[in-house]
């Protein structure tokens, strides 16, 4: 999570307009999810890998690690779709008899499962592209621009900021505890963790009050208005996005 966040601020695509990156990621994701053929997700996976590794300059190792996260989850769902248990082996493509039951695979199920698997992985890679190249703050600004209610975007701004503040606090407390042998035994670990949480809640309460005070001091009256840095709009990028998307749609149409 934290690694994704750091890359978002420090990659070779960071100066590209966030709307362009979002448009690209979201449109590609929609095409991926609606694809009737396994070819599209494969092309998209390659496209996003190229975008992330070559264009954004993020190490391949990081991207692969991130793809492994949903992999376990995806494999489980694939297995549940593919494997059929019945007493009748007819129609099964591959099967094995066990204690009077037949465990097997229907061929159409297999195709469907692989397709689903690739579609999911393709869609996830689109999201990774966005998350690795675009800071959350910029994404929130886009949400604000497309008229998502400001209560939601404001909360996102504050939550995003304070995740890090509280994480820092928690890490500091934990360090202080470990350096005084707070985690040497099971018992002391339980006690330390409970103390960490109660300290953290106390701190959160104080910090939120201080934050409100300091925001009032700068004229806060109930609505957070901020200005975002302007990014140059690059028509070339729009052309590239259009061409790529048309290409993907064509694959969808021709290989249905």
């Amino acid at each position: 999570m934290i690694a994704i966040d750091s890359y978002a601020y420090n990659n070779q695509l960071k100066s590209v307009h966030p709307s362009e990156k979002s448009l690209f990621a979201i449109m590609t994701m929609v095409i991926c999810i609606t694809s009737p053929t396994i070819l599209t997700p494969l092309v998209i996976l390659a496209l996003m890998a190229g975008g992330i590794i070559v264009k954004a300059g993020i190490p391949a190792r990081v991207f692969i690690k991130l793809l492994l996260i949903p992999l376990a989850f995806l494999l489980i769902s694939v297995v549940t779709i593919v494997v059929t248990v019945s007493t009748d082996p007819s129609g099964l493509w591959l099967y094995q008899n066990l204690y009077g039951y037949t465990i097997g695979i229907h061929y159409p199920d297999l195709v469907q499962a692989v397709h689903l698997f690739l579609k999911s992985l393709g869609a996830v890679s689109c999201l990774y592209f966005l998350a690795l190249t675009t800071p959350i703050t910029e994404l929130i600004t886009i949400l604000h621009k497309i008229k998502v209610p400001y209560i939601i975007t404001e909360l996102m701004v504050l939550i995003y900021r304070f995740i890090f503040v509280f994480m820092d606090t928690a890490i500091t407390i934990r360090r202080a505890q470990s350096s005084r042998l707070g985690y040497v035994s099971m018992k002391s670990t339980y006690r330390s963790i409970s103390q960490l949480f109660s300290a953290l809640i106390g701190k959160m309460f104080l910090k939120s009050r201080d934050l409100y005070d300091s925001m009032s001091a700068r004229g806060y009256t109930g609505e957070i208005r901020v200005l975002t840095k302007k990014y140059p709009i690059n028509p070339k990028n729009y052309v590239i996005i259009t061409v790529l998307e048309i290409f993907l749609i064509l694959i969808n149409l021709l290989w249905r």
């Binding site: 701004v157 005070d213 300091s214 700068r218 009256t221 901020v226 200005l227 975002t228 840095k229």
Partner: protein
């Protein structure tokens, strides 16, 4: 028009838990002055500052802005906060956005300025606090001193008349804290009234026009820095130490290197100037 831009009159304040944080505080602040408030931890400096733009309301006594008691009605408070800005002690409780740009633009936008004007002010504040190259970083990846400078930029961009800094140089490295003091001087040259709190006696002594010493919720002394620091019992009582410039001056005086009529040095350069050349020694 009153001769004081801001004034604390008989301020009393207790926190809800009963801590008596301010006791009968009287503090006039002159238009355009550089005032340092010295006090050890827990003396009540931050609490006093919170009163000055109406964030906390005193139990009794009042704050006057340009001679008039401040009102705690919403509209009046907003007007007051346009004129009196505070940079808080802890940057983590001031920076609400992960984006440096967004955070700095927050204050000026609340002033109702146009986007162009706000952009201009953000850029200027970034330059003034030397944070231009931090603008693309998220606030959570900045060091403490860097966050501090961004939070200062957020208030500078509002261009208030009175700027209050709560322990601004704590956590800054020597170079940045020196440059920050220069920034304060240039703000002061532009006519801003500047108040800062610190427990750094050297900084307070060299920088300020006037000094107030706080101790356990009271202002136990206020006046010219040279005068206050000549009262060593006072300095000790407030859990502070003597500025090294004054200690050196006193030592030189005691050992007969300088005459009692020699003026107190305000800076290292002043001090070096008053140290006489040993007789027989050639000047360089």
């Amino acid at each position: 028009m009153s001769k004081y831009i801001l004034e604390a009159v008989d301020l009393q304040y207790s926190y809800p838990d009963g801590t008596n944080a301010l006791r009968n505080v009287n503090l006039p602040i002159h238009q355009g002055e550089k005032l340092a408030i010295l006090g050890s931890n827990g003396a009540g400096k931050s609490t006093l500052f919170m009163q000055m733009n109406g964030i906390y309301r005193p139990d009794s006594g009042c704050i006057k802005y340009q001679g008039e008691e401040i009102s705690y009605k919403n509209k009046a408070l907003i007007e007051l906060r346009k004129k009196v800005g505070i940079v808080f002690q802890d940057p983590d409780s001031q920076l609400f956005s992960a984006s440096v740009w967004q955070d700095i633009s927050f204050g000026p936008l609340n002033l109702g300025l146009s986007e162009e004007k706000v952009t201009e002010r953000v850029k200027q504040a970034l330059i003034d606090t030397e944070t231009t190259d931090l603008q693309d970083k998220p606030t959570h990846l900045l060091s403490y001193g860097q966050k501090k400078r961004v939070s200062i930029a957020g208030v500078l961009a509002m261009e208030p008349d009175v700027i209050i800094f709560d322990e601004p140089t704590a956590g800054m490295d020597p170079r940045h804290s020196q440059e920050f003091m220069q920034l304060l001087n240039s703000l002061s040259d532009k006519g801003k009234t500047i108040i800062l709190s610190t427990h750094d006696v050297d900084l307070a002594y060299s920088w300020s026009d006037r000094l107030a010493i706080m101790y356990r919720g009271e202002i136990i002394a206020q006046g010219l820095p040279g005068e206050l620091f000549s009262r060593s019992e006072l300095v000790q009582h407030a859990d502070l130490t003597m500025p090294w410039l004054i200690e050196t001056y006193n030592e030189l005086l005691k050992k007969g290197w300088i005459l009692p009529s020699t003026p107190l040095p305000k800076s290292k350069e002043d001090l070096f100037k008053i140290i006489p050349i040993k007789s027989g020694q050639q000047t360089a």
